[in-house]
Amino acid sequence: MIKRANTGVAPDGSKRPTPPPYSSKFESSDKVREALQNTGPGTSGFNPSSTQNSFVQKITASLPFGYGYPSGGGSKVTMYSVQAIYSKVNGVWMLKSMYPNP
């Protein structure tokens, strides 16, 4: 995570020219499950229009979902929100990315 924050290199080896503002991770698998259960199709906040093929949701909880490091260094940041991005593939909504967010 610190390498990602400082260099922009992602866990899969891909690199973007500038690192994202944060490199973050979930605190536990339970927090991943909690985020999955509260985003996506069937949840109250998931309401894309029929013509859209991508949707982003942000949820916030009273307890942290995870933590991250700001790009270029800095102190660990506790993150209480999650951003989840879904895209429609062959008519089915699929999770594209999900990460703790400050």
């Binding site: 994202p20 894309p48 229009s49 013509t51 859209q52 982003v56 942000k58 967010n101």
Partner: protein, 155 residues
């Protein structure tokens, strides 16, 4: 017949400021007289630029909404919506570079988003123009030219 006038992204070295693209295209007079649908024109530009064609996914917006979205998409990161990545002064400068290609008349504004995520608690839907995790585009047309620019985001 549409003609690419400039790759604004390359000419202005916008890769220093955001990941994405920016182009300007002209329409010939016959085409503008035929009143070809704006969305069809935008799809043609997308096809030329190797972007996905989204048809009705282009949402027509008012100038005021377009102005706000342009500022926010350049000022903030798409994956971390509250993180400022460019100062407002730099954003103003970039927008002036992009819009100087157009005259002040008959401007039409479109976006690939159904709403402004900065005004929807981070929630929103869009039609992807790229394979990136997130992308956002604003397209602006006058009577003869179009400017289309987009920004991509990854977590």
């Amino acid at each position: 017949m549409m003609k690419k006038l400039k790759d604004l992204y390359k000419v202005n070295e916008l890769d220093k400021y955001f990941l994405g693209g920016a182009v300007t295209y002209s329409m010939d007079k016959m085409e503008s007289d035929l009143r070809i649908d704006d969305r069809e024109i935008l799809d043609r530009i997308c096809k030329e630029e190797g972007l996905y064609i989204i048809g009705d996914g282009w949402r027509k917006i008012e100038k005021n909404e377009a102005t706000i979205m342009m500022h926010q998409m350049l000022r903030f990161d798409l994956a971390f919506l509250n993180s400022e990545v460019l100062s407002t002064e730099k954003v103003e400068h970039l927008i002036s570079l992009l819009l100087r290609e157009l005259d002040n008349n008959s401007r039409r504004f479109y976006t690939n988003w159904g709403n402004n995520p900065w005004e929807g608690n981070g929630k929103g839907g869009w039609n992807s123009l790229t394979d990136s995790t997130l992308d956002m585009s604003i397209a602006i047309g006058d009577s003869e030219k179009w400017v289309l620019f987009f920004k991509v985001g990854e977590d």
